[in-house]
């Protein structure tokens, strides 16, 4: 008797949709000289956790990372390949996975406050992971890594966190109904 480990089709479709959103976000990247670029991909990564929950959110980020790692240009600014994953900005990419899981766990129950808490902590985790990687790779001390890897992004990421929270609060029930949680739309 084969066990059915296959998730429902709607969940696969949603996970692939968010992977595509994260990848399409690669086109929109504004470079900062000497540091990681400003991207929109982290917004979609956090949103995937908020809307799809920890497991499916992680799945979409994993798909994005896997497709990027084997060389398709889906990382920020149209880059790709394993070298990018192992490079100085790889910490942020690992942070996406962490953020999707944690944001998904926090925002299990719908609502603006929990959504905001989840997305804020998600963005902080991305920045934290990115900073750690920068610190390790470039032999920086904490204040320098903070100045290069976190501070330039804080204002914009705060805006993104609020956007994520609003979008998640507005569309959470819709996403849940698609995933077969709660009332199914007729």
């Amino acid at each position: 008797m084969p066990t059915n480990t296959q998730p429902p089709v709607a969940r696969i479709a949603l996970a692939s949709l968010f992977a595509a959103l994260i990848m399409a976000g690669a086109v929109i990247a504004f470079p900062i000289p000497g540091g990681p670029p400003i991207v929109i991909q982290n917004l979609f990564a956090v949103l995937s956790g908020l809307l799809l929950g920890p497991a499916d959110g992680a799945l979409s980020v994993l798909i994005f990372l896997a497709i990027g790692a084997i060389g398709f240009p889906v990382f920020s600014g149209g880059r790709g390949g394993f070298a990018h994953l192992a490079g100085p900005t790889g910490g942020y990419l690992a942070g996406y996975l962490l953020a999707a899981v944690v944001a998904g766990l926090i925002a299990r129950r719908r609502g603006l406050v929990l959504s905001f808490l989840g997305s804020a902590i998600g963005f902080l985790l991305i920045l934290g992971a990115g900073m750690l990687r920068l610190k390790l790779l470039r032999n920086m001390d904490c204040t320098k890594a903070l100045a290069a890897g976190v501070l330039p992004f804080l204002p914009l990421d705060a805006v993104k966190a609020v956007i994520c929270a609003f979008v998640a609060a507005r569309l959470g029930p819709f996403a849940d109904s698609l995933r077969g949680i709660g009332t199914r739309r007729g």
């Binding site: 709607a10 929109i28 819709f174």
Partner: protein
């Protein structure tokens, strides 16, 4: 409206269809070569281990009918990164670094050890870019996704949804132009109504609110696309179990030889690297 057409020139992948025997190999073999050449490029001790995979990849590219210059072109976007790494090493010193000083500039100095670190980083990155470029230029998106499934097959026995993962990866690649098109059409629609993105004044919340008319419709349209896809698949009784593929990959002649060669090459590079790296380093005086 030129600024709004983000996605006109986006192409994912860089497949070069030369129809060579390398192209016709099964995805599993290509993944094996990808891993076998990447591993020493990432984890080697010295220059030999970082550069031999590059040499092997360039030879394989010639065999596959892919021009090496085409692969090396992939280096262009990361050249500034090399400069950043070099400048960082120049500015920040390593504690306890007693290697020879190559040159000084004001309070900063470049030592042999720092030069070694920069050169190794460049060698590793160049190797990886060419290896990955070779993979993507000989493998289509569909093959790559099917290959992921084959590669994850052992994990499927442990309960990992390998088939779902591969399906979602394939679908995601198909979704990219659709999602991009939706985003573009909504940005245009909002701009036509006089929307102004990015220059909004006020606090964080006010700025975020300005973007909501962009994100909520994009997300709704995208979610509806996913819903339509799921319904279409359910209507066709998709279950994911016992599913066959439209394209069946057949082992080419000599493909097992190619697989064994990949493993052999990987081991040989590691062995050679560990044998050569210490004398080479001593010769260059890196750790002196």
């Amino acid at each position: 409206m030129r600024d709004l057409e983000f996605f006109r020139n986006v192409s994912i992948g860089q497949y070069v269809d030369s129809g060579s025997p390398v192209h016709r190999m099964t995805p599993a073999t290509k993944y094996l070569w990808l891993v076998a050449l990447s591993a020493p490029a990432v984890a080697s001790l010295g220059y030999a281990g970082a550069l031999l995979p590059l040499l092997s990849a360039l030879c394989a590219a010639v065999a596959a009918g892919v021009r090496p210059s085409f692969l090396l072109r992939g280096l262009k976007p990361i050249l500034p990164l090399f400069l950043v790494v070099a400048v960082m090493q120049f500015i920040f010193g390593w504690p306890g670094d007693r290697s020879a000083v190559l040159f000084r500039l004001g309070p900063f100095s470049a030592t042999a050890r720092e030069a070694h670190i920069v050169l190794m980083a460049v060698a590793r990155t160049v190797s990886l870019v060419v290896i990955v470029g070779l993979f993507t230029s000989t493998t289509t998106e569909g093959e790559a996704a099917h290959g992921i499934e084959d590669f994850l097959a052992p994990l499927a026995r442990l309960g990992f949804p390998a088939h779902a993962f591969a399906l979602a990866a394939t679908t995601a690649l198909r979704f990219i132009p659709i999602v991009a098109g939706e985003l573009e059409s909504i940005v245009k629609a909002q701009a036509a109504r006089g929307a102004d993105f990015g220059s909004g004044k006020g606090g964080v919340v006010a700025k975020a609110r300005a973007y909501l008319p962009l994100f909520v419709p994009v997300m709704i349209r995208a979610l509806e696309r996913a819903e339509a896809l799921a319904e279409a698949m359910e209507a066709r009784c998709y279950t994911g179990r016992g599913r066959t593929r439209f394209v069946v990959y057949e082992l080419q002649r000599g493909e097992w030889v190619a697989r064994l060669a990949a493993v052999f090459l990987c081991v040989a590079i590691f062995v050679l690297d560990s044998a050569v790296s210490a004398p080479l380093a001593a010769l260059l005086g890196v750790f002196a």
